[in-house]
Amino acid sequence: MTALDVPAWIARAAERIAADADRLTRLDAAIGDGDHGHNLRRGFAAAAAALPGDGPPGRALIAAGRALVAQTGGASGPLYGTALRRAGKALGDAPEADAAGLAAALRAALDGVRELGGAAEGDKTMVDALAPAVAAYTEAVENGATLAAAATAAASAAERGAEATVPLRARKGRASYLGDRSVGHPDPGAASTALLLRALADTAGEEP
């Protein structure tokens, strides 16, 4: 497989978010406002429903991002919506999302999230999963890995990054008001980011 089926990725992401929505909401109840899984399930269902039937994959990402912003509720809507819109703009009107194109798209998504949310690595946010995922993906592609192998490396890096938020003290979002009491819990945004990257690996690994 040399190109990613972008609509299939968004559909798979919606499935994974729906399957883990209760877990995400439980994580969020510990240090946030307890709506992350519920919000994202609604947002990604809307994103999957907003996918155009055909056209370039960049357009599909922009449509999905718009739907996320409009329908998610909570801070994750603007953040994930911006990530997908920026990724879509990076792909432009390219007819397919190949390994190199996806590297640029993932980088643009990370930049968009950092810019909008103002979070850096170590702040106990989705950036702690997304940044290592983008780095792992980019490194794999530069070393000649296939899209599927690079996506799997990204998913594993995102999962490790999400797990590594447990000892961190939150510096962004509602959890930051808790100060040291946020230590010992994983960040729900990093956990949902890991699901999105795992959905990417699922999709990239399937034969067309």
Binding site: V69, A70, G73, G74, A75, P78, G173, R174
Partner: protein
């Protein structure tokens, strides 16, 4: 006149702050509230924010004030999408709204209204 939109997770908070800002702004300021989610519960509705911006804008521009989290991010996106016409003030919600309404009613431009809201952060309440 520059319009002002107050975005809060709570409809009651947004409407109360808007009433206060409108009154302390001499009754002339145009202040709209976009509070809560689409069903009136706690949250942020991009749709309500967009509608409030449209209602507050007479062509001169709109300054946004947001309370927390998703309200701030939703306003940042709205300001980004309408750069030059809509600006988000990094300001305390109530004091910033009152300061912005006062300046807007006095005929100040977008940059001055936003600056007044942001300067409200420096006003001490005690001593």
């Amino acid at each position: 006149m520059i319009g002002i939109v107050l975005v809060s997770h709570s409809r009651a908070l947004a409407e109360g702050a808007a009433e206060l800002a409108r009154t302390l702004g001499g009754g002339r300021a145009v202040v709209h509230a976009a509070g809560g989610d689409a069903d009136g519960g706690l949250g942020t509705s991009p749709e309500l924010v967009e509608a409030a911006i449209a209602a507050a804008d007479d062509g001169d521009g709109v300054v946004l004030l947001a309370d927390l989290g998703s309200s701030v991010l939703t306003c940042k996106l709205a300001a980004e999408d309408a750069a030059g016409r809509v600006a988000l003030a990094d300001a305390p919600f109530v004091e910033g709204a009152v300061a912005a309404a006062s300046l807007a009613a006095a005929g100040a431009d977008l940059a001055a209204v936003r600056a007044a809201a942001e300067d409200a952060r420096n006003h001490r309440k005690i001593s």
